[in-house]
Symmetry: C2
Subunit: 276 residues, 2 copies
């Protein structure tokens, strides 16, 4: 009879075929757009980070940031490493989206991906200062169901003097698997690499689910914020409209008031709050 020690010393891990394992990260940020009216508050947009692939396969296509899992790190650490390498920003939250392992999802071979979504504050991105590398850009996100039951994922990059506008429009359907879970299938990838349209769709759904609770919302905001800012973020993510009076009542138990107020907004100053 072999002892455990003997067994392990002789164990050959190369006995079985192994897949490559990657992580992909859907990094979300709320971007505020300046308004033309000095009195009106800025509008918010939900945006996601995409990188333009410089190598085969899917060269020149836009994709989620990500990379291969290294020994001696967890998949969470790998996701954190990849997103930090890409943005120089340490995200506030990293949460799992799921595992994507369909054979054939990557033309290079047997590669399964662990997808995460992460939340990054606009504040932190501004501090780092946009490295103007055109290969990593924040795209505005819209994700809606149409009347036929199809889901439309639209990612758009607003052009400026240095950059053309880019619009990626993917179409997906929701299908119920035999075993209790619904998944998205890609009808049109919209030019996104691999199965990333699907991963983004799942990530947006999950973000919306999380954003119904306040913990995830606060992660998009700086330490001190007005209640209207929180409300705007939730409305942006969930694509809904809430009456301010009711929102205040709901959030009241989750925040602590400070003695500070906003200034120079063209209307009554608002008290700043901290998360509880």
């Amino acid at each position: 009879m072999q002892s455990e020690k003997e067994y392990l010393s002789q164990y050959n891990i190369n006995k079985y075929e192994r897949p490559s394992v990657t992580t992909d990260i859907a990094a979300f940020m709320i971007r505020s757009e300046e308004s033309d009216n000095y009195k009106r508050d800025s509008e918010n947009r939900l945006s996601i980070l995409l990188v333009k692939r410089g190598v085969h396969p899917f060269m020149d296509c836009w994709a989620l940031p990500g990379g291969f899992l290294k020994p001696n790190e967890t998949v969470e650490e790998c996701a954190l490493r990849e997103i930090t390498e890409e943005t120089n920003v340490v995200p506030v939250a990293i949460l799992p989206v799921g595992v994507f392992s369909e054979p054939g999802r990557d033309p290079r071979g047997w590669i399964i991906s662990n997808a995460f979504f992460s939340v990054i504050t606009e504040e932190s991105v501004k501090q780092v200062g946009g490295d103007d590398a055109a290969d990593a850009q924040w795209f505005d996100v819209s994700f809606e169901k149409d009347n036929d039951g199809d889901y439309h994922l639209s990612l758009s990059l607003r052009g400026n003097t240095a950059l053309e506008s880019i619009h990626l429009d993917a179409v997906l359907t929701k299908e119920r698997t035999k075993f209790g879970k619904s998944i998205f299938l890609i009808k049109d990838s919209g030019g996104l690499a691999f199965d990333h349209a699907r991963i983004i769709a799942e990530a947006v759904c999950l973000l919306r689910k999380y954003a119904q609770d306040f913990n995830t919302i606060f992660d998009f905001l700086p330490e001190k914020f007005t209640l209207n800012e929180v409300q705007k973020v939730q409305e942006t993510i969930l694509d809904i409209s809430i009456l301010p009076a009711n929102f205040r009542r709901k959030i009241n138990d989750y925040v602590i008031e400070t003695d500070e107020y906003t200034q120079g907004a063209g209307h009554r100053p608002a008290r700043l709050f901290k998360r509880k």
Copy 2:
């Protein structure tokens, strides 16, 4: 400049080190225990399938069923394959629990596990007929928080003439990671193999979350059921008590009544319902 085709034909997937990938399945079943009083309905227990390991490492320890991912299958298919091999039963639901990739979690080397939980009906297990192999057994599950903030996972196998009683008691703590997710850490594995105490803890939490909605509850029941049966299952999983009148009101929209009734129960017959 290389074309994508040329690139892929030269791509060497062995360039990077790769982990072995496994799935582990927390298979849950609601087991009804006969009562001594002919008038009283049977009590339910939440139970989970464990297998006794016949090989190193953790030989003779109890573990979740599972196995290595094969090429050309998804992790979900792998989980389904493993649980069906073990029980001869096709589960009604298979849902993801998470990825466990801490370095050192498996003494054989770099092995990451995709954990799932599955729901199996007692009906289907009875039909297959218990293969009396003592190496796969359904353990009753209890999972509770104590006053110190520790979590106690107790798995027990009721002994019978052929089998001794077995009690596995694991202790865990819940820790908030930096990035918005809470995880369980094992203080005492209770004799369970690998990090399976942790996987089971996460799976039970997730099952309880799902069981607040009725879809998962119905998966534990046969096609036709009484409302009291549904209530008992939910009470068993969530470890709560609900007033029958209120439960009926809540579930009313999720079921369709049939014209059939129970018989011989020692009390008023109950109408059978189907899920909507």
